[in-house]
Symmetry: C2
Subunit: 379 residues, 2 copies
């Protein structure tokens, strides 16, 4: 798995004069290897840090804590080796950070780098591990920051990634259907969310990390986003349900707006405009369109209908990160290309009163788009 | 909030000759300030890193990304200032890591440290931020690693922390009751877990991060722990449900074992021994007992009943981390003290067949214990 990603990375590093590199961002590790450490409970208490990938002249090495070694082995084909370090033990104090540093020192020393440049994701590697790396390298070696270098490569999806994304979008759709069914007067935001989360976990057969928002329209000052709380839905309340699911290393996303009982005439008008704005946006997406033009035209569509457009991004790429290149925002010169997967999410918000947002996931094809989300965006 | 913790920390740093320090571990930040950044979805995509706490001669400064500033303000009383940095924006590329580094450089420069020592949690601070800090300090300043220094302080809970822990243990109990009710032939591990998670989230009124295990006895080679999967329960199967909940910065924990239908006579015998081992352990806990003695006596109790004792820890402290000092393990010389909150969790496992574990949370009082978990530990 992920040999295409590794080959692209090797080519990129070579083109920029780097024979060696250390990847420390969780998203880089997943993209390069397919391995994903559990999130959901925060810092891994027994690990020395997140997983790392060391690159040395065509050979990648994934470094994980021992308890993840069996899972990680599935992701370590010939061009990617696997090393692990001792973490949890009851026999002595846990020194997993030191153990990880030892493994890193060993593998770097083996490379025998005595000069030249070594790339490093310095915004994510800890100072402690940076020292270990520095110690293992000759003083003649220059360290080059490579944070963000993989982002443009990640934007174009492989067939394997598309297969994962399709499955993940289907999970989001399942959550949306459950949320729609659960929305009615008398329930709370958290109740709707629990319905969606339960449906997703039961369909997947395991615990799926989830974002994003579940907010009733009368929230103020912010009814755009936020995690569900115990706000109760009254008749005529709108509820924005924006679910992203992260099963197996790749995110998906999607947003719909539901109503407790019948939407008011005003809500129906807002909903219609947002839906038309989304459909209009989808009709514009094809290879060659510039992100900021797409952004501007969707905002203008809403404004021309007489409403204030959303102030958040109009869309974003999705992959090993929930928000990645290309960003569909006012400043972006990114040119959309076939193989990108992007979200579009126009909205209209009147904080304290009501809000509407609808979001679809799109695969950009050679001549247009394929819509990957299939949830009902009616009211 | 958390002024006691900050005062203790200031005293500790002073005693060790440090006037300044940077705390970079999420657990340190929560313990020092009460502020907790959301977990559950992994890396915060728009942040420059986790929150930081800078200490300078009696004054603490919490540094968070802008979208958390309102939440963090509640945790910044007079002896703790609050700074934030710009993260998400649609107007230009996101440079939150650089923005955080700028804020860190400014606050460190303000301290005017021209000599002496500065403490740093180097196992968690990134190399990128370490550079920013180093740049802001005179070359005469020595950086001293302080990873783990707060652990002994954290082990003794304040009254405010105990109030939080009590509430959190009650949430775990709610989850256990729901899991017990959901366990029956024909359901899967994930279904039982969903029932527990739903009950906890609905009781809390918000999304509560949860660990730990939900594993049927016939799992092999590991039926001790793991997240729920789609293994189906058949009549007579045992199911270990170990739930830790993390609402508002402090963990809680607890484990029970349920059966699909009636437990077999052998399971009843195992269950009885584990329950007696737990009760025996609780009877031993008081200020002054050494962790390894407690560990040994509980293991011996199980072995004397003719069964293999658990190979995992017998227990652990719980607080801003789900596993913290004191560890109840064979090597530990830690002396239990009043004000500590520990878990005890004896178990017996026959992988591929069945397993039993029961766990209680205990507040060590001046003359014994108060049991903080109240879930049913019968079969």
């Amino acid at each position: 798995m992920h040999q295409t990603q590794r080959q692209q990375t090797a080519d990129l590093l070579k083109a920029r004069g780097l024979d060696r590199a250390l990847f420390a961002h969780a998203h880089s590790v997943t993209w390069l290897t397919g391995f994903v450490a559990p999130v959901q409970t925060g810092t891994n208490l027994f690990s020395g840090g997140p997983p790392l990938v060391w690159y040395d002249g065509g050979q990648f090495t994934l470094i994980v804590q021992d308890v993840h070694a069996a899972d990680a082995a599935a992701f370590a084909p010939p061009d990617c080796a696997l090393l692990s370090y001792r973490s949890y033990t009851t026999e002595r104090p846990i020194t997993s950070a030191e153990n990880l540093a030892d493994v890193l020192r060993s593998v770097v020393k083996l490379s025998g780098a005595s000069a030249g440049k070594v790339g490093m994701e310095r915004q994510w590697l800890t100072a402690f591990l940076h020292d270990a790396l520095r110690e293992a390298l000759s003083d003649q070696v220059e360290i080059v920051p490579i944070d963000g270098w993989l982002a443009p490569l990640r934007a174009i999806k492989t067939d394997d990634e598309l297969a994962l994304l399709r499955r993940n979008f289907a999970l989001c759709d399942i959550g949306q259907a459950a949320a729609r069914q659960a929305t009615r007067p008398g329930v709370r935001e958290i109740d709707v969310w629990v319905a969606a989360e339960s449906a997703i976990n039961q369909a997947a057969g395991y615990r799926v990390p989830l974002g994003n928002d579940c907010v009733v329209g009368y929230r103020s000052p912010n009814n755009v986003g936020g995690w569900p709380l115990d706000y109760e839905l009254h008749p005529g309340d709108s509820l924005i349900v924006d679910i992203s699911a992260f099963p197996g290393g790749y995110w998906s996303d999607g947003c719909a707006t539901y109503y407790a009982g019948e939407p008011t005439l005003r809500q129906q008008a807002l909903h219609r405009v947002v839906r038309e704005a989304l459909e209009y946006g989808i009709s514009l997406v094809r290879p060659g369109i510039v992100a900021r033009d797409l952004d501007r035209r969707i905002r203008e569509f809403i404004e021309q209908a007489g409403y204030p457009a959303h102030t958040h991004h109009t869309g974003h790429g999705v992959g090993v990160s929930g928000h990645e290149a290309p960003r569909i925002v006012p400043y972006s010169d990114d040119v959309l290309q076939a193989g990108m997967v992007i979200m579009l999410e126009p909205g209209i918000y009147f904080p304290g009163e009501t809000g509407v947002r609808l979001e679809d996931g799109l695969l950009i094809t050679s001549d247009g788009v394929e819509v990957l989300t299939r949830h009902d965006k009616g009211w």
